[in-house]
Symmetry: C2
Subunit: 254 residues, 2 copies
Amino acid sequence: MLCYSWNVNGIRSVARKDLLPWKVLPRADVICLQETKAQQHMLETSLGEPDGWHSHWHSAQKPGYSSVAIISRDAPDEVMHGIGDDTYDSEGRVIAARFGTLVVISAYFPNSRDGGARLDYKLAFCAQMESYLDHWRKRGFEVILQGDYNIAHNPIDLARPKENQKNAGYLPQERAWLTRFLALGYRDVFREKNPDLPGAYTWWTNWAGARGRNVGWRIDYSCVSPGLYDRVTEIRHCPEIMGSDHCPVAIEVR
Amino acid sequence: MLCYSWNVNGIRSVARKDLLPWKVLPRADVICLQETKAQQHMLETSLGEPDGWHSHWHSAQKPGYSSVAIISRDAPDEVMHGIGDDTYDSEGRVIAARFGTLVVISAYFPNSRDGGARLDYKLAFCAQMESYLDHWRKRGFEVILQGDYNIAHNPIDLARPKENQKNAGYLPQERAWLTRFLALGYRDVFREKNPDLPGAYTWWTNWAGARGRNVGWRIDYSCVSPGLYDRVTEIRHCPEIMGSDHCPVAIEVR
DNA sequence: CTTCTGAAG
DNA sequence: CTTCCGAAG
């Protein structure tokens, strides 16, 4: 099963550019999208229910904000919208689809914002995410938590670690949460398979040609529950796929 | 003196397209602009004070709304911002520049809006405009009232008169005001010189290729005070000039 | 720098 | 359909 995650920064934006995920992501079985920036009822059918795919959306109450989706070739056996707490669910940040014993989650973690204005909210979301994953695992399922974590974990995960110590996405508290999360047994597949690979980023600011100069951050992850790690057959970034300020991440499990 | 009037629908928009008025309007002495949609302090100097020109702006309080300007090769002898009533002046709708005994006015009349929601405001603006013009004429000056009147006067002035009887810009009350205004002696120079010319429009909606099919309205005028009419040497529309949903209007007086 | 809404035209 | 704002990233 080949499973992509992509923060599209506006599904209508990539549609305008003729770079829709289900067109440009090769051999996809499942596509996790973040920041679709649309409530499903605002989308034309061609975007909201693409032909030949099963699609499930979880949108923010606020129009044009956040919102996630899972698009799959096969119908999921179960879909869960949100994380079970309206504080987060009103912002359309999480959707999950279960295929047999495998749960694929599309998550858009909060941005902690300038001055850490939303750091507390983000850390509370992260804590809630742990119990949410427990909920699935207690039922005997393995999980892939795919999405935009809005956290660069370690210095190797961004081009300018020193300059960003006080910036949203690289604050000590968010980095510490990710460390703790992995200590629970979840596996950051990309980094484990590429422990010393620098310059492997998934997001670049739009300013000043950052992507062309590869001045970026790795903030999009495919983390898997412990029992799933040995079933991973491939993990890669797709920086060649354009259309968003993020690039897709692909994971294949057997 | 060759004097243009152009509703640019955003001065920054035409700048992006490299179609700035002082670049694309040939042999201009004076350029009246409407809907510049910027407060002067929000503009780069190259837009707000173009090199080789004298520029005067009158902006709405609300950022990005309305706003007019007069750009001229020679420095005006006098500039007047607004019409003398803050009800209208807070919306940045009128600026005047006097060159000797000739007063050139750039005016952006209110849109009467769907259902005539703002018709009363517009008619009050029109009434105020009459006294404003009197003010200049009592001082012995001739006036050119150039700009976007947001009124198509007669059936010949729009492509679909029957379909638009109840639409903003062609309501009986606004048409009646323009009739009355001309009865005061002001001269609609374009129509007087081209009394039976159909299809001479200055605005086309952006929808459905209206400009390509010339489904438009004549809502931009150069009206002159009675004593000026015999000094007019040219009047024309410039539909070849792109960059806005309006085209420029040019008048030359001797 | 870019995406979006919502007001406005 | 397009402009602009302001929020957001």
